[in-house]
Symmetry: C2
């Protein structure tokens, strides 16, 4: 079945807002076994929306439309759909009830404009919005079943998975294809190298579609399997996953697509271990990533962001002689920083970064992109040096922080 | 003049990649005085690309197409354009020379496939790509002038501004409209409140288009002015900017669209002041934001991320009795943290955060979203308490960090 995606709204049309909705919808629809052939975007313009809906109705079996369901005069999707279908709007009782209940529950005053949100094209089915005021609706125009959803990403996502996908499964009826996905997060190889390492998987599993997705600096390997027999699809996906693991080894962080900070956090938690950090070049990013994980206060004790040498010495207790002898960016200094952070906080592990994120500060010997990482464990302390060539300050900070976490992860894997 | 945007590629079509190119192109084209009416996306499919190019050629005066210019068999844009134009490909000598020079300069080996990138539809004009191997091209199909650019954002952006926009100005000839934009970053009011405060600006300057763009938690006010007389356009934009400043006061961070961390960084730098930070709930984010600014080592000395009470006492030197009396999340504790951070690092200012980012840890008295901020200056120390209702941990961390920087910014404005 062919699917198209339409996003409406002047903000997206004019480029004030990047349309991330369409990518999410495309991914979900493809995972449900549909073939997404086209996305379109038009502004808040009745004629433009209605005319593109008519075009889509002649091409696709299913369409998901976002935006234009709000209470203001700019919100034109229902009217445009009615126009394209050659029908009129009516006040949908169930939609009105949903809106009234939304306000009642929150003890908010319902504006008179909100009543407009219950006006749907004749022949529609109202789709409940569990998180916002705007109910969506499904309506058939020509041979295409249209799903109209709000543009707010959190509302759209919830309604897509809870309301639209079940309807699509019903639509597919007996001929439904099961479509399963595995998401393996990896770190340590570039996209081309990951691809090269997985050539045999592609050969051995012709039924599996393999996609690489970079969420810098991690590369996600996504395995897609399709078929009519759910058990078989699941089995082949398991085997292909095993084959990826064999080929990439401990460069795979998680077979559930988890990012580095969550993987390391879970490892620390399950070992009842704690961590203290000393950051120089990463400037707080490493700590910020660790503390983005809910519940991280269980294992994250302290981080000293010691940009100046003075603060490395005074706050962390790094020996002046170490910095004088080796400089701030050095394995020995990083090692000492990790040891000091661990000691100060009484943590199981100490982790540190010192490097040159750029754009300034590089030398011939230590160019921009150089990072030294220190790791202190209950039994020893180690220093490492790496060099990255991304050039950009923010990318360097990011890859330095993830690299440091990877050093700890590999230690925890032992 | 009507413009459309087409992005091609299976990654964008399937949702593996969010199409941020189209938003950038739309913004640039609108600023050049064009009216962008539609964006479309199709996959790496010859028939699909060629058929949508034909559709666009019947609707638009100008179109920008991205993707499909690479050397592999997936790269089909030139072929699809030739097909839509009813013409053939030829080897463009200037394109071939550009590709050969690209490889020569870098002393790389040119692959035989790269020769394919010089095959352009008859009647095209080659557009140099200063950063990559793929030259673009411009070709007229029906009444529409198409610009084909690479999909790599950095290459596309450079070619759009350096090659496409000048061609569009030529196209507009005598009737060219000047289009100027002002971007004012603000913090402290929600989108609806900013809008309400600017109603008089909308009334007083009917020639100015006003757009609001949220880059959480900042709201950018964008003023667009258009006209044939550049000086007049510039004058009216200045006056409208002045009116926004009058209405929003010191909630405006910058009239150059600068984010909070850059504004505060520049203020510290120009005052030759330094800063030390003590973070609890923001977990490194505040320091990370500050150190994202190149050159921040001039004023950023130290940050202690003291998640545990123990580290607040042992590392920062917060008095145990203050925490015992008030708790970790309290104005008095935040004040003491700021004073300690300032003292330890010998900085001009000390800034601190202590709060509840969630999802756990909230109480009736101090619900999730509560943050206490401390500020220590050379002459005094202050504590503040704020409450935000975003619910989400990452949003809370972000608004807490920006709020803390705003407390410092307002102090520096005095």
């Amino acid at each position: 079945m062919i699917a198209e995606i339409l996003s409406t709204g002047d903000e997206v049309r004019s480029g004030a807002l990047v349309d991330s909705n369409s990518a999410h919808i495309a991914e979900v629809l493809e995972e449900a076994g549909l073939e997404v052939t086209r996305h379109s975007t038009v502004g808040d313009d009745l004629a433009a929306i209605s005319s593109i809906i008519k075009e889509i109705s002649a091409r696709a079996d299913v369409a998901v439309v976002t935006g234009g369901l709000g209470p203001t005069t700019d919100d034109l999707s229902a009217e445009a759909a009615a126009m394209a279908a050659g029908t009129e709007l009516y006040e949908d009782k169930s939609a009105l009830l949903l809106i009234e209940n939304f306000f009642k529950k929150r003890q908010w005053l319902m504006g008179s404009l909100n009543k407009k949100q219950a006006m749907l094209p004749k022949g529609s089915k109202c789709l409940e919005n569990p998180v916002g005021t705007a109910p969506g609706f499904a309506v058939r125009i020509e041979n295409c079943l249209f799903f109209f959803l709000p543009g707010v990403p959190s509302e759209m996502k919830k309604m897509l998975s809870e309301k639209v996908i079940p309807e699509i499964y019903t639509l597919q009826g007996g001929i439904r294809e099961y479509s399963l996905v595995r998401d393996l997060s990896t770190f340590g190889l570039g996209e081309a190298a990951v691809n090269e390492n997985l050539l045999s998987v592609i050969d051995d599993y012709p039924g599996i579609k393999l996609g690489l997705r970079a969420t810098f600096p991690e590369i996600h390997v996504k395995l897609y399997a399709k078929g009519k027999d759910e058990k078989k699809v699941s089995e082949i996906l398991e085997r292909a996953t095993g084959s990826v693991l064999e080929n990439l080894g401990n460069r795979v962080l998680s077979t559930k697509g988890e990012p580095m900070e969550l993987v390391v956090g879970n490892m620390l938690k399950s070992r009842k271990a704690t961590i203290a950090v000393a950051e120089s070049c990463t400037g707080g990013l490493l700590s910020n990533m660790l503390t983005n994980v809910p519940g991280s206060s269980d294992y994250f004790l302290f981080s000293g962001i010691t940009y100046s040498n003075d603060s490395k010495i005074k706050v962390l207790g790094v020996r002046q002689v170490v910095i004088e002898e080796h400089g701030a960016v050095h394995e020995e200094t990083a090692k000492e920083m990790a040891v000091c952070a661990r000691r100060i906080a009484g943590a199981t592990y100490g982790l540190s970064t010192s490097g040159i994120a750029g754009p300034g500060g590089g030398t011939e010997e230590k160019p921009v992109g150089t990072v030294c990482i220190g790791l202190a464990t209950p039994s020893e302390a180690k220093g490492f040096r790496f060099n990255f060539q991304f050039g950009d300050r923010l990318m360097n900070k990011k890859v330095f922080a993830v690299m440091a976490l990877d050093v700890l992860r590999r230690e925890l894997l032992k």
